[in-house]
């Protein structure tokens, strides 16, 4: 093995086969898939897996929403062929995954009252992050923004971790009416973590008053740093969303 400072996450890429333990529709167009298999390469929240699907060439990147000793949970929003195929997976079926991808959130940024801001399916990786923050003894405030009531997921799961969970919906059909960013001003926090559609994160960047971390998406060729398909310009040079990302620190981002 060579010394390679590009592998900043320091995790190892693994390819292995997983079994679908369950697949449930948990909100409008959103599925929760629990897989069993080797999770040894998953080391931090915000990392993702890259999934091979029959008949599709490229793998599909999906965040790890949760994991335990021998299972991992994915939350999937159906938007095209690949996510449709995932939604149709049945208990007992097999999936080929690359794991150990991405840097993951850096929890070592010592914060007493972190704020988590999720938008839509972007709430997925925040769940595992929230869990680990709670395990570490901090109770983060969580703001989860959705378009409408039908799209809300994992409200109870987040609430079972921390009392401070605020749901917003654009049309007011659930939780507070408005955007996730609308409620930030009233919250006390000294650091933040966010994941959601880029327009939302851009709004977050304007609304927040502290440093924090953002989880980005990009179309990927490989997902493990080989193709330069997912490059992004940052203040500290070009970074690969799949490798030096998907989590970038606020100070690094060129909006």
């Amino acid at each position: 093995m060579c010394i390679n400072d590009r592998f900043i996450g320091g995790t190892e890429l693994k390819q292995s086969i997983y079994t679908v333990e369950s697949n449930k529709l948990i909100a409008s167009n959103v599925y929760e898939i629990v897989l069993s298999g080797d999770v040894s390469s998953i080391v931090s929240p915000g990392q993702f897996v890259n999934i091979k699907l029959d008949g599709l060439f490229l793998r599909r990147p999906i965040s790890v929403a949760d994991y335990s000793a021998d299972s991992l949970t994915l939350l999937i929003k159906v938007i095209g062929e690949g996510t449709e195929a995932l939604a149709a997976m049945k208990e007992g079926e097999k999936l080929d995954l690359l794991t150990g991808l991405g840097n993951g959130f850096d929890l070592g940024k010592g914060s007493k009252s972190p704020l988590l801001i999720g938008g839509g399916i972007g709430c997925a990786p925040l769940f595992m992050l929230c869990k680990q923050l709670c395990d570490g003894g901090t109770k983060p405030t969580v703001v989860l923004g959705f378009n409408d009531k039908s799209e809300i997921f994992y409200e109870e799961q987040f609430k079972s971790l921390t009392p401070n969970v605020i749901i917003t919906t654009v049309d007011g059909s659930g939780g507070v009416k408005g955007f996730a960013t609308d409620v930030i001003a009233n919250i006390d926090y000294d650091y933040f973590y966010t994941c959601g559609p880029e327009p939302m994160m851009r709004a977050v960047s304007k609304a927040v008053v502290t440093d924090g971390q953002y989880s980005f998406e990009e179309r990927m060729g490989c997902g493990f740093g080989a193709c330069m398909g997912c490059s992004c310009k940052t203040k500290t040079g070009s970074k690969r969303i799949c490798k030096e990302g998907p989590i970038l620190e606020s100070g690094d981002i060129i909006w």
Binding site: M1, C2, I3, N4, R6, F7, E12, L13, Q15, K52, L56, F57, L58, R59, L98, E218, R219, M220, G221, C222, F224, G225, A226, C227, M228, G229, C230, S231, C232, K233, S238
Partner: protein, 303 residues
């Protein structure tokens, strides 16, 4: 015991399997997941005189049995490659490596080749005159006999290493361009680079790729690549490195029967990071299956 060794422009390699430029970084990234010394060699990311960020994203699109890329030659520039990438590579790869070079003028091509000429680990220089993802130069050099020959001459003057010219498939007559390169002094030909392709996103009703078009590769293009290697084999005597859509040891054999003396694997590395390892490991069995004792004996066997 079968023999998988082949001779590529005077350098013997353990097997004909070479990860293609742009899909294997500078090699050491893959050294984390397997011992890359099992490879025949590999072709590193297309290197230019200046550092390049490349094209805007999205740079990747999904296709049936393939993909489109529009990286646009992102690389740290020749100086950083020599100062940073090659020393890292040296610590994990102990064989000659193939340097993949691009440029926007004859001077740039020559400059980069001259710089690489001094690097002992460089075994071959693969000159990309066919990248469809850059606007000036690049592709144009690969679409006419004269331009291809002029690049060949310029780089031959700049280096003593074997020069392999990498051709574009987006041409009417690939054989005549290959012949022009041979006549201009090329030591080998590699082909094919990506086919120019495009996808449109039905949600936005606009091209998926920010740059609109990009390079199409992967399994889907294999029959076109095979045909071009066959045509070029008829036209030139210098060794051919065949690529385009190879995804198995079976495909390696088919490509060599068409005329390739070594092959490269591109897009397949991206969807299966262990592709080259698996192909190398299964090659002896596959050779046995088809009654092949020595892989170099089948080169051009279909003619």
């Amino acid at each position: 015991m079968v023999n998988t060794k082949v001779n590529l422009c005077g350098i013997e390699i353990d097997n004909p399997v070479i990860p293609a430029s742009g899909t294997f970084g500078f090699g050491y990234e893959f050294a984390e997941i397997y011992d890359i010394n099992i490879l025949g060699t590999f072709s590193f990311k297309g290197t230019t005189k200046q550092e390049r960020f490349g094209n805007p994203t999205p740079r990747i699109a999904e296709c049936t049995a393939g993909m489109i890329n529009s990286i646009g030659l992102q690389n740290p520039g020749i100086d950083a490659v020599i100062k940073e990438e090659l020393p890292k590579l040296k610590s994990c790869f102990h064989k000659p490596v193939m340097a993949n070079v691009s440029g926007f003028s004859l001077e740039e091509y020559a400059y980069v080749c001259a710089a690489l000429d001094k690097e002992p680990q460089i075994g071959w220089i693969e000159v990309n005159i066919s990248c469809p993802n850059v606007t000036k130069g690049g592709m144009d050099f690969g679409t006419s006999e004269e331009a291809a020959a002029s690049v060949t001459k310029a780089v031959k003057k700049a280096t003593t290493k074997p020069v392999i010219i990498k051709l574009s498939p987006n041409v009417t007559n690939i054989a005549s361009i290959a012949s022009a390169c041979e006549a201009a002094g090329a030591d080998g030909i590699s082909l094919i680079n990506t086919l120019l392709g495009m996808r449109i996103d039905l949600r936005t009703k606009k091209p998926v790729i920010a740059n609109k078009m990009g390079g199409f590769s992967g399994r889907a293009i294999f029959p076109v690549a095979l045909r071009m290697v066959y045509q070029v084999k008829k036209a030139v005597k210098i060794p051919i490195v065949g690529m385009g859509g190879i995804s198995s040891a079976r495909d390696v054999i088919e490509m060599m029967l068409a005329g390739a003396c070594a092959v490269q694997i591109g897009a397949e590395n991206l969807i299966n990071p262990f592709a080259c390892k698996e192909i190398i490991e299964s090659l002896p069995d596959e050779m046995n299956k088809w009654g092949i004792k020595d892989i170099s004996e089948i080169v051009g066997g279909a003619h």
